[in-house]
């Protein structure tokens, strides 16, 4: 007879199996589980990188769509049986995975393309990750409304605070995952640093009356500029150049000095996964051939120095010496405080 106890036992067994059975997506023999953002990013991963990887290894590739927070949480939840073999991470989460011992160091013998990847894209992660793309901070503007570009970040803040651009500015909100990096950059170009973020917050408070919206997703900026909700906004150069051209003839962009914030997408090999294929996958991500195709589709700059950029696109690439990255480990320590401070001083 089926009793209540037997049903509970059945449920318990099922639950235990579900719990212990591990993830549905898991590294196996001749396949590698990797990650990708959706949209054009996924398109490029499938069209440009996976075919080359398959040609070289004959292995299958499983793509897990999502975002860095989700992937890092998955790896941390199952450290002995990671559901991913390679992860396409954000900078701070890449450092966190490295510090927790959940990723493996990349070496030129296992990842030959590492040799052609400049230090800026590897050393912030001590070679526990290497970025296959980069994008830099820039301002996009309606050239008819604002003919004269802000040549430096201090000039931008000064002119904005005087109301020269009117109430037509958009900057990133704290809900944007890279907001702490951007606040650090604002602080440094305005005379502060990771230990002194006051200049950034003071400048933001001064220009707050002229902000139409602090944006949460980069997609919002394009829409706001094109629909003339704003005349000037902060965005990554690759995204701006992708919008420019015949479709948006009024759109212009520049990278204010003295330097530009560089964002990276460090690719990492997860410890305990299919490390051999994961190294090969990271090597494919760093390969000049698919990187060029990726650049043509997405406009985010390739990092392999062997990539030959077409002449018509060369002007959009920032010289490496103009780019800066935050001290990630120090920034990670103050991120929560930055969020709290923003909530009190900018939102409050």
């Amino acid at each position: 007879m089926t009793t209540r106890r037997s049903v509970l036992k059945m449920l318990g067994t099922g639950g235990a199996l579900a719990w212990g059975g591990g993830s549905l997506v898991h590294a196996q023999g001749n396949s590698v589980t990797i990650t990708s953002l959706g949209g054009k990013w996924e398109q490029s991963i499938r069209e440009h990188f996976i075919p080359l990887f398959k040609k070289r290894t004959g292995a299958e590739v499983r793509v897990v769509l999502g975002g860095p927070s989700q992937w890092s949480a998955q790896i941390e939840a199952q450290p002995n049986r990671p559901p991913l073999d390679a992860v396409d991470n954000s900078e701070l989460l890449a450092i966190a995975l490295k510090n927790k011992g959940l990723v493996v160091k990349l070496t030129p013998d296992k990842v030959p393309n590492l040799a052609h990847t400049p230090d800026l894209f590897r050393k912030p992660f001590d070679d526990y990750g290497a970025s296959y793309q980069d994008s830099t901070s820039a301002l996009c503007r309606n050239r008819h409304k604002i003919p004269q570009e802000a040549k430096t970040w201090p000039e931008f803040f000064e002119r904005a605070a005087k109301g020269e651009f009117g109430r037509s500015i958009t900057l990133p909100d704290i809900s944007y995952p890279w907001a702490p990096h951007i606040i650090w950059h604002f602080a440094t170009v305005l005379g502060g640093g990771v230990d002194n973020l006051d200049p950034a917050f003071e400048a933001l408070k001064k220009i707050k009356p002229y902000i139409v919206k602090f944006w949460s997703t980069a997609l919002e900026v394009g829409r706001m500029v094109v629909s003339k909700e704003v005349d000037i906004g902060y965005l990554w150069d690759g995204r701006i150049t992708a919008m420019m051209g015949e479709k948006n003839p009024t759109l212009a962009f520049n990278r204010p000095g003295p330097n530009s914030l560089v964002t990276l997408s460090p690719a990492q090999v997860v410890k305990g996964g299919n490390e051999k294929l994961a190294f090969e996958w990271v090597n494919t991500l760093l390969d000049p051939e698919p990187q060029l195709q990726y650049y043509k589709l997405i406009n985010f700059t390739p990092t392999n120095s062997k990539v030959i950029i077409p002449d018509n696109m060369k002007a959009n690439i920032m010289p490496l010496n103009e780019g800066v990255t935050p001290p990630y480990s120090e920034l990670a320590k103050v991120t929560s405080r930055i969020v709290d401070r923003w909530n009190r001083e900018i939102r409050g």
């Binding site: 579900a18 927070s69 941390e76 907001a179 702490p180 602090f214 997703t217 629909s227 969020v339 009190r344």
Partner: protein, 286 residues
Amino acid sequence: MTRSSTDLGQLARIVLLLPATIIVVVGYVLPSLVLAALSFGIVPGVWVFSEATTSHYMRLLGDIYYLRVVGYTLFLGIVVSVLTAVLAFPVGYYLARSRSRLTSLYAVLTFTPLAVGMNMVTLGWMIILGKTGFINALLLQTGAINDPLQLLYGWGAVIVAMVHVVFTFMVLPIEAVVRQIDPSLEKAARILGAGPIRTFIEVVLPLSLPGIAAGFLIVFLQVCGAFVLPLLLGGQGFTLMPIAIWEQITVSFDRSFAATLSVALILISIVVMLLQMRIMREKSLV
């Protein structure tokens, strides 16, 4: 009835209930338990219960910013629910009572927000309320204004779009309940001298309350959990709980505090649900 047929009946009930039970246990109960554990600082996978702490709850209760976030979320939930109830009632009443051929068209129109989804409705309102959008263009062309109004990125935009998104969820239960009300009751009230307003207030409205209450609950819970719409249409002066949870996960990387906020949001939903059930029971509406 023999013993074996009783057992067979019990077995059939268990088999029929099993899929739903598995979905509830695996999809809701287990994740909720993991979430609750995380909110006390217990890391899933490691499960060190000795490290449990209430510090995240103390932070939530002791920080005016997060209390304000809870307040804004409740405020939006209540305002949108009330507005939707007021706007949806005539539509629900019309759909239930009218014999016009147009009712099917109205019914289809009522379903459109549900059919296109919250994201599309959000984009639609961005176009309507934008500086170069429909409303501003109309006002500028008629000379009512000289410069476009800032209609996006504030409470107004969020409330209007949210009411649109959840409208169907209020109309359907109201229509279902009004359909059950015997029209002769309204006729009797009118014959006895009550005007249309008094008939509505003293007869139709009290009898419609179960539908309004059901719609209110669904709408309130939908609004409290909304993420994309307030993120894209909201302004810089206020934050809602789903956005605060997102910030803690993706920016602060503080999953425990994010779990605490999530548990608080779930608790608010449960409390509102229990409160509504109690009120309904006290008024003998269920």
